[in-house]
Symmetry: D2
Subunit: 381 residues, 4 copies
């Protein structure tokens, strides 16, 4: 990780990660964690790209990643990091150890939008965002920059008043315009807006999404295939998520939760052949902070109609689950760009609730991912 701009020449390996929502918990954890792992202060827990199958695949080194991004919030990253320590998300001492990197990333954050009272139209916003991106690449003499959306889930767009693009699509359009690969770690629309379709096809850039698979859906993507393979029909799959933090507050909006749930349901319908009965609740519980609890109740049939039940309880820290995947995705997408790939990276379905094609069970997705790594490795030879 590089802490300041180098103004003399282009760095062939230096890769930018431009985070939409750059002052949120996930972004802060990714920036501080990248610094700590690069410095050898922490193991690379949760980073799949640091495991054996990804050796010699030409991914940018953690020390060559440079962070920036857009956000409408103004609390500086070092201060956000301190708050995450108090909330039990970051280990004590990390904000100090990563002070330089946090400050450097904070310097590279530009105001997001549209802000309240913003008079700019969509075109002006896209142009401004694309300019910020180009400036980031130039200032830091980056080989490339990947745009990653880690902002709060936005509500489902009303079908009627579709004059304006949702914010996530403004940023996605700006990425295309600036020639940057794009990763959508949220369930928001992003590149999936009909008005961006032609533009995305023309741009010749790789992209990946949607909605990082960090907890309950990760579990579902290994459990649902088990029921299918064992010929055990699922009668009902019910779930409740409790979470606080910014994500909890955003998802307390039923329109945002609906977007989230649509992706979560997909793994079940894709794997089981049809969507079983059962509801999925997302409750905002501020007392839990960034810690998430997900309870699942699966009622399934056994031989001769016997009624059986599997329940799972998953308790994890949302930002700590997401951050290593964000780093993985940025590195893989940057490398795909370098390799000249374009269009949806279906091999990255391992990371997403609602992927752009590819298999739906986690094991098959992992096989696709390691196959992708193998191709990248051979491409270097």
């Amino acid at each position: 990780m590089t802490t300041g701009p180098d103004t003399t020449h282009l760095h062939p390996h230096r890769t930018g990660i431009w985070l939409i929502g750059a002052r949120g918990s996930v972004a802060t954890t990714a920036v501080a964690g990248c610094a700590a792992v690069a410095a050898g202060l922490q193991p690379a827990t949760g980073m799949v790209t640091e495991t054996a199958p990804f050796a010699d695949t030409g991914l940018p080194a953690l020390g060559d990643l440079v962070f920036g991004g857009h956000d409408t919030a103004t609390t500086p990253l070092p201060k956000r990091a301190e708050a995450l320590v108090a909330d039990g998300v970051l280990p004590y001492g990390l904000p100090d150890a990563a002070r330089a990197e946090l400050a450097a990333a904070d310097d590279a954050i530009r105001p997001g939008g549209p802000q309240h009272g913003d008079t700019r139209d969509d075109e002006e916003l896209i142009a401004a965002f694309a300019h910020d991106l180009a400036d980031f690449v130039r200032t830091h003499r980056l080989a490339r920059a990947v745009v990653v959306n880690v902002a709060s889930t936005e509500p489902a767009a009303p079908t009627s008043g579709g004059d304006r693009l949702p914010p996530s699509s403004l940023y996605a359009s700006a990425a295309l315009r600036a020639g940057c690969p794009y990763v959508n770690f949220t369930p928001s629309t992003g590149l999936h807006h009909p008005r961006l379709r032609a533009e995305a096809a023309r741009a010749g850039l790789p992209y990946a999404g949607r909605d990082g698979k960090t907890g309950q859906t990760l579990l579902r993507s290994v459990l649902a295939p088990m029921f299918a393979q064992r010929a055990l029909p699922v009668r009902a799959w019910s779930g409740t998520n409790l979470l606080g933090g910014g994500d909890g507050a955003a998802l307390a909006d039923p329109a945002a939760a609906a977007v989230k749930n649509a992706g979560k349901a997909r793994v079940l319908s894709d794997t089981l052949g049809e969507l079983p009965d059962g509801e999925l609740h997302i409750d905002n519980v501020p007392a839990l902070g960034d810690w998430k609890t997900a309870w699942d109740h699966v009622a399934f049939d056994g031989f001769l109609g016997s009624r059986m039940v599997l329940q799972t309880i998953w308790q994890g820290c949302d930002s700590a689950l997401a951050a290593p995947l964000v780093l993985d995705l940025a590195r893989l997408t940057a490398r795909a760009h370098e390799a000249g790939l374009s269009g949806p990276l279906t091999e990255l379905g391992f990371y997403f609730k609602d992927p752009d094609g590819g298999p739906s069970g986690l094991a098959d997705q992992y096989a696709a991912l390691t196959g992708f790594a193998e191709r990248l490795r051979r491409g270097r030879a």
Copy 2:
């Protein structure tokens, strides 16, 4: 399913299933359930061999299966079936619907051993068992018979006083002598005894084992790969099983539980690279009858040392989980025998806690199994 011997000519498709522990819950459920499914009274829930990948693979039809076996118990199968209705294992009405098949199977059960006070030595017992098997095949004019061990788990053999073979190995040796394929659905020794090694190699018969994967270990075989693939180190994997019925009583013996646990641990050590901390308890809870509850607690590390937890609770009926797998295994092993295969069927690891080779994650095991089906299908062309 055929209800009585046919004395006129050999049936090329009629296949015997010779159950060790033929009057136990699993055997009773398999016999009654096979009749109900063959008659179209019940769906083939839990029978993987009835799903699409197994079409046209030449498996014996459910209606061509003929049951017999050894047991030291004397309660007739129709009466056992009534008791299983009262215990909530079999649906009301099934014992009546399958009365003929239960009676026919009961007629074909021969006394097991060694009984209390038995004066026969190992060689005499093996000879008697092999004679029973040959008689079963001849009387019912079967194309072949598969021996399946579904008896209660036997205690670990004392290392010293190894003059006698454990009972499970006596039956396994009898299967070899009678030229019958062999499946060990329990963690008992069976064919894995050093003194049977040479004999097994010479026999040229297919065999499969050990210990059917029906609940907690099934879950572990999909969850452990998830942790490995996501680079999330498991710090401790703890579990408690509560079960009643005959299996609960048998496993209350620490020596029997130790045998069981060794197999259960294998999926974790094979998948995770090392066996994590954590104990595994098997408690006999008579009040639960044949219903089993398994609680697992997995403590794992997240990014930057955050501590996360997954808990699972599995509630299922042991016999209803096992019986369709027993039918699957008998059909697949019979077909392997017909196809001239011999030695360990590593492609059946999908069904076992402690398989004879092959991959350890369920997804890879399923791929191996469907690949096996594909080879059987092509073998018929």
Copy 3:
């Protein structure tokens, strides 16, 4: 339990139980179960009135209870009972053993209302219901009859169009008019309608309610006092209920669920001083039939701000939980009537989510109940 009307003289102990919703699962279970316990075929599990503190308190004997009621459904009770066996609610054989009592109760059921297309106004309906009740008491020469509402939860009344009384209040008014004590085992309005207030006060009859406490709220009424007594502040109490059957379908209506949840919340706010954060979901899961699963997640603070969690999972059969309480309440309320008591029986808060006064913790409610039993016993001396 008496199976047919006796036309010769009044029975001083024979007590009627008039069930609103007399052909539902709870009513069927209560009628069949009362017969089985009275005949000594089943233990009196779950019947508090059969425990030591209630000896010699003058309650009507189980064999002296006579059942009837209103329902808009027409499936006869013996047939309903068979369906409950198939659903695992009633034990096999019970419908046969209680055939006479089920048929007798079914004969005493009269059509409820208002039916679809009913042209009768409130006054006509109340008069008809009261006439049915009086007829029941006379025909069976009963000392008295208690009206117990066990019908499905009705939606919250719209505040505006309040011209008509909700059905539960029509039945409650009919009970008053016929001089019958009244028990509301549901969260529906019943006697709690403002327009019945004066009438209830005038009637001089004992009554009790609302909403039987059978599962999650029962648990909450012992757990919430624990947190309060130990000075452990509850930060959030979240819950999800999964249930099928008629109650699941009725509570899938958000207006009905809202009524239910208001009562459930009361035990928390009364005990903890304020209602903690956290939502409460009621999901209709038809696959579960009459079996209910309730998951609760309680986030609480420990010493020095440590964050702790209690989770509970309750799995029970709704009708089997409710029926013995219905029998208890009918007996206690009949005895209160005999003893000349009138107004709300606050000592019965032990049975209700939303009681008419009295303490809110279960232990204090139990003390009040056994104190009531003691007064009844002394009243006989």
Copy 4:
């Protein structure tokens, strides 16, 4: 809390708390937490003596408590406190805020025993400990000191070789000799040794025990009465505890776990009339540190033999659960001593798994405790 000895005159309110195991997690948390609460830095969460019913009962103020104790460990308290921050037990910043109090308490800690290779006999050890206690009271000019055992559970004494007293009984005997009230927060023998019986009776001192009720048993003491009061027979009550830290390691010794479990079982047998089926496991899981997870599975019967299940999962920090109870008990026992009470304080059963008499359900124990507070209040008038 006073940070150093005052050498001029006796303080009528200054009360000593002499902790056996004074450098363990519970002791460190109690000392640091008392300082933080006394200074207004933290709320008095979990301290029952700080709630309304205990106002004006004459308890020593938190600021008047002076800590000391015995321990064989030598790591200073300030350093132990830092380690507890890293383990997530104490909040960041607390060791600094309570530095003076931790150092003062550490100065007052004397070496425990018998140490490895100790040549002193029981009498010499008791005399040495009693001398340490007397010295503590005199140096700090205390009105009195309460001895509280918070050391690791010691193994069950072998029945035969009973020449030596167990260590916990040596300390208990020293307390008697020094005229100090005694509280046993552990399941170890302490005062319950037959050879201390006469001495305890003669001493005229108040005492209380055994084994603080902090988690699973606390829950059981509210849940078991619920089943009893509702006439729901418990068929089996099974449990597994996972914990790390020093207590986890100590209880990995089966002899120590057996002592612990005997107390835990008592609440069930006392409340339910008999001990239900079901085992209780205590597993040492170092990865969990001081955080404890307890799973309970209660199989109970419903009406007409229906089988129902309650499961609970309790996740808490052991030291944070124990420390406020230790402070409560020391204050209450000191006040009892001041009031001239002697013998077992049965009114403190609220705090113990295995109390010296009194009721077994938590609600009744709470009533006894608040009644005790009322008597103390009246005693001041």
